[in-house]
């Protein structure tokens, strides 16, 4: 059994973007295990050259529909860093709040529409409408919460309008924020339902550990998605975001032609599990409880547990979101207009996308037009780690037979919540 295996998944489904899995084994001997990304390269770094600093976030948000707020924020932070623009505490809080909406939208989409079908043994969310209507309803309500939250803060679901260098083009009203607060509170029971479903199915997550390095943003006192330095589970000291190139160390793999990243080992992982492994102590009470319920502890190196880390992050952003709204309301909304002016300079913006740490670097000329850009996206940083996981996983699970192995491998890819269309910087390998 399982002597010869030939897996060729042309485009893993239920992930954002195109990725292929290739496994060839003859008589128990593994000949090839590959994770490929045939996504059409889109050249964003080339395209933003010559564009005005006011247009950058509008362009780069189009790198990815599902992390458009994150890309916009990274770009805006990069622009503000380069142009030495300071923003008010109000802007800062509202941006973090906007950023949270994307974590809610993205995590609930990923868990509900992309992962749940695997755990429930079906092909997609479509059959679940009939078989598990309550689960589907719950997922929809959470996803909708994320979207309404996003629309309020950024003006739209996908591709934000209001967040620009210097501030907001349109501010939410206090009444609208109170309304959001109410909606978030009403979302907690739905979160509990989702948690119970995942908890009941947690045993279906494959038991697979592979120690690796985890990299995420770290701030002093909060479980951070927005501010902070670069932290790794392999080192004590954090690294300034301006030096991100020396952390990601993009390289061309001898095994493939893809540009991969590594820091202290062959590969590292980013994403919810990485954030958890770096910041677990800073979680707010609700999320801490969820971690406990799942037995998720700092230092976990089962990539499938990324899904659980996403779940507890939903609690984290809900709880912290409520706090932030309180703070904004207590100070009361001031009618601030975004202020910025062109200037030559270079800057870096670093934030956590739902699927991991994201870096943008820009240089501008005196008119504020972009002269150079470098974007390093989380999925690109995970590709090498997925490949390394595969190399350990395939021999371990080969006995399960071709079909199950294939499913386990697809589930692994999905657990990273890859956002392949983001991979502006990722090179793929030869196709078979």
């Amino acid at each position: 059994m399982g002597k010869s295996i030939d897996i060729n998944v042309h485009h893993v489904t239920r992930v954002e973007g195109h990725g292929n899995i290739l496994v060839k084994a003859q008589d128990g001997k593994i000949e090839k295990v590959e994770w490929q990304v045939p996504e059409a390269p889109r050249f964003f770094e080339a395209m933003v050259r010559g564009r005005n600093y006011l247009d950058i976030q509008t362009i780069v948000s189009r790198i990815c529909g599902i992390c458009s707020v994150t890309h916009s924020l990274a770009a805006i932070k990069g622009v503000e860093d380069a142009l030495e623009i300071e923003v008010s505490p109000q802007t800062d809080k509202l941006r973090i709040l906007a950023h949270y909406s994307e974590q809610v939208e993205s995590h609930s989409l990923h868990l509900g529409y992309l992962v749940a079908p695997d755990l429930l043994g079906v092909n997609s969310v479509v059959p679940l409408v009939a078989s598990h209507p309550d689960v589907v309803k719950t997922v929809i309500s959470l996803h909708k919460l994320g979207n309404q939250w996003m629309e309020l803060l950024t003006g739209r679901m996908t591709h934000p309008v209001t967040i620009v260098p210097g501030g907001f083009t349109k501010l939410p009203t206090e009444a609208e924020l109170r309304g959001l607060q109410k909606k978030i509170k009403e979302g907690i029971p739905a979160l509990n339902t989702l948690k119970d479903v995942i908890l009941s199915l947690a045993s279906r997550l494959p038991a697979f550990d592979r120690p690796t390095e985890y990299v995420a943003v770290k701030d002093k006192s909060v479980y951070s998605f927005y501010h902070g330095d670069i932290a790794s589970t392999d080192i004590e000291k954090t690294e300034d975001v301006h030096n991100f190139e020396s952390c990601v160390n993009e390289y061309v793999s001898p095994q493939s032609t893809a540009k991969w990243t590594k820091w202290h080992r062959d590969s590292y992982a980013v994403g919810a599990l990485a954030r958890f492994n770096v910041n677990a102590d800073l979680l707010l009470p609700m999320a801490k409880d969820v971690a406990k319920e799942f037995g998720l502890k700092k230092g976990c190196c089962n990539p499938y547990m990324n899904n659980v880390a996403q779940l507890l992050e939903l609690y984290q952003v809900a709880e912290h979101g409520l706090q932030l709204i309180d703070e904004v309301l207590t100070a009361s909304i001031k009618p601030e207009k975004p202020v910025s002016r062109p200037k030559a300079g270079e800057g870096v913006g670093c934030v956590e996308a739902p699927r991991g740490i994201l870096f943008h670097r820009y240089a501008f000329d005196a008119r504020g037009n972009c002269t150079r850009a470098n974007i390093c996206i989380p999925t690109g940083q995970n590709h090498a780690n997925i490949q390394k996981d595969f190399e350990v996983l395939v021999p371990q699970f080969m006995d399960r037979g071709q079909d199950e192995l294939k499913l386990i491998m697809e589930m692994l890819v999905r657990s990273y919540d890859p956002c392949i269309s983001c991979s502006t910087h990722f090179l793929n390998i030869d196709f078979v």
Binding site: H11, F43, E45, M47, D55, G155
Partner: protein
């Protein structure tokens, strides 16, 4: 058409337009009562070569994509271009303002000549095959998408705005961006978005493409009135409408 079979395919894009379909939330269930999805990589695991309606997201940037699009066109009775990347090329066309070698080396440096990086100037879907319906916007507006699907299902030609965004901007009771000294592409951009950007305090970026007969000459003279130059205007236009004269 009895419950048409629908397949969704993506080319170079951010997949944000597909996301707008997911963002229909409960209404997706209604959508499923009108069409049967047979391939939708982002949401379901099935794949199929038999479908009545093909929905194309993204721009065409490589020769192999062009072939894939032609195959899809051959198989489908109805082809819908979903979103600015497919309808007008969208942001992907910004690339066309540079030489392709320059584009590749600026991103990939030494590795620029690798075969899988082959890229050519971005094309919209209708530059390669016949497109039956266009769902404009970056991203699309899912209410318009729903409307178009319903029209196709009832055999009706959807009525898509041919007039500029200003109409909807006025309905939204916004103050015109020009009054704030900004260049807004609203007067030459096709409406249908409910003036989403001006209503959120920004100018119109032109993501729905031009109206049928944009008055470019007026554009130029008016810029002077507002102390702007044609260059300023072009800087803005290229964002979504590089090389696009008119629809």
């Amino acid at each position: 058409m009895s419950k048409p079979r629908v397949a969704i395919f993506d080319f170079a894009c951010c997949e944000g337009c597909q996301l707008q379909i997911v963002n229909m939330e409960e209404e997706i269930i209604d959508l499923l009562s009108v069409v049967t999805p047979v391939e939708w990589r982002e949401a379901i695991s099935d794949q199929s070569t038999e479908y009545d309606i093909a929905i194309i997201e993204g721009s065409i940037t490589r020769p192999e994509d062009e072939e894939r699009l032609k195959t899809i066109r051959d198989r489908a009775k109805v082809l819908i271009a979903l979103g600015a990347c497919a309808t007008i090329g969208g942001v992907n066309k910004l690339k066309n303002n540079f030489g392709m070698d320059d584009v590749k080396s600026s991103v990939y440096g030494e590795a620029r000549d690798m075969p899988h990086l082959s890229t050519y100037p971005t094309k919209a879907a209708d530059e390669i095959v016949k497109v039956d319906y266009k769902v404009h916007g970056c991203p699309i507006d899912n209410r318009e998408f729903a409307y178009i699907v319903k029209c196709i299902a009832t055999g009706k030609e959807p009525v898509i705005p041919y007039y500029p965004v200003c109409v909807e901007c006025k309905e939204k009771e916004n103050v015109c961006r020009f009054e704030y000294g900004e260049i807004c592409l609203g007067p030459i951009t096709r409406a249908g978005c409910d003036a989403r950007c001006p209503s959120n305090g920004a100018w119109c970026f032109g993501c729905r493409g031009f109206v049928d007969d944009p008055n470019m000459n007026a554009g130029r003279e008016i810029l002077e009135k507002y102390g702007k130059t044609v260059e300023d205007l072009m800087h803005r236009i290229v964002l979504f409408n590089t090389g696009r004269k008119e629809e």
